[in-house]
Amino acid sequence: MTTLEIDRIRCDGHRLCAELLPELIRLDDWGYPILKERSLSPAVLMHARRAVDACPVLALRLKQAARV
């Protein structure tokens, strides 16, 4: 299972992630991301990758849960 992780210290509220991934990300009153859900369905994975690539401060990343 792939999850979306936000590095809260790197994040500066550039807002590109919410623009590119509105399915999972909305913004608070100051432009910082609120994750509606962390696990990614196959349908949004491509959009999530695009959002990760677009973040100017590399605050987003995808994490692959290890199979036990």
Binding site: R8, C11, D28, W30, Y32
Partner: protein
């Protein structure tokens, strides 16, 4: 503990006398928590500052039209979104205060203080 909404952390016990207003006490705590931010993440820097300002206005009975609604909304938004658990602690206190002092907060939103009214009546 987690199932009941509790968490481990440092605690302070402070006794409020009958004459003290719960809204004012809460606003002092929120101002302190906002000032203690490590300033490493947006939700804490902006969220706690906004909450401190709004609770301060409420305490002074000079609330803006939607201050109470805003602190209720912001307190729901901050949990789990900081780089550390400082905003969670601040918001945990605020949410319990909004619950315990619900009537006092509602009065302050309308420019009244129940504590002050009680003092005058005594």
């Amino acid at each position: 503990m987690r199932a009941r909404g509790y968490a481990l952390g440092c605690g302070v016990v402070s006794l409020l006398s009958e004459a003290e207003c719960g809204v004012t006490a809460t606003s002092r705590i929120m101002a302190y928590m906002a000032a203690q931010s490590a300033r490493q993440c947006g939700p804490c820097v902006f969220g706690l500052a906004a909450i401190a300002e709004a609770t301060s206005r409420l305490s002074a009975r000079r609330a803006q039209a939607n201050d109470l609604e805003r602190i209720e909304r912001w307190s729901a938004q901050l949990t789990g979104r900081g780089a550390c658990r400082h905003p969670d602690g601040a918001v945990g206190l605020l949410r319990s205060a909004l619950r315990v002092f619900d009537q006092e907060f509602a009065a302050h939103q309308h420019g009244l203080c129940l504590r002050q009214q009680a003092r005058r009546a005594a």
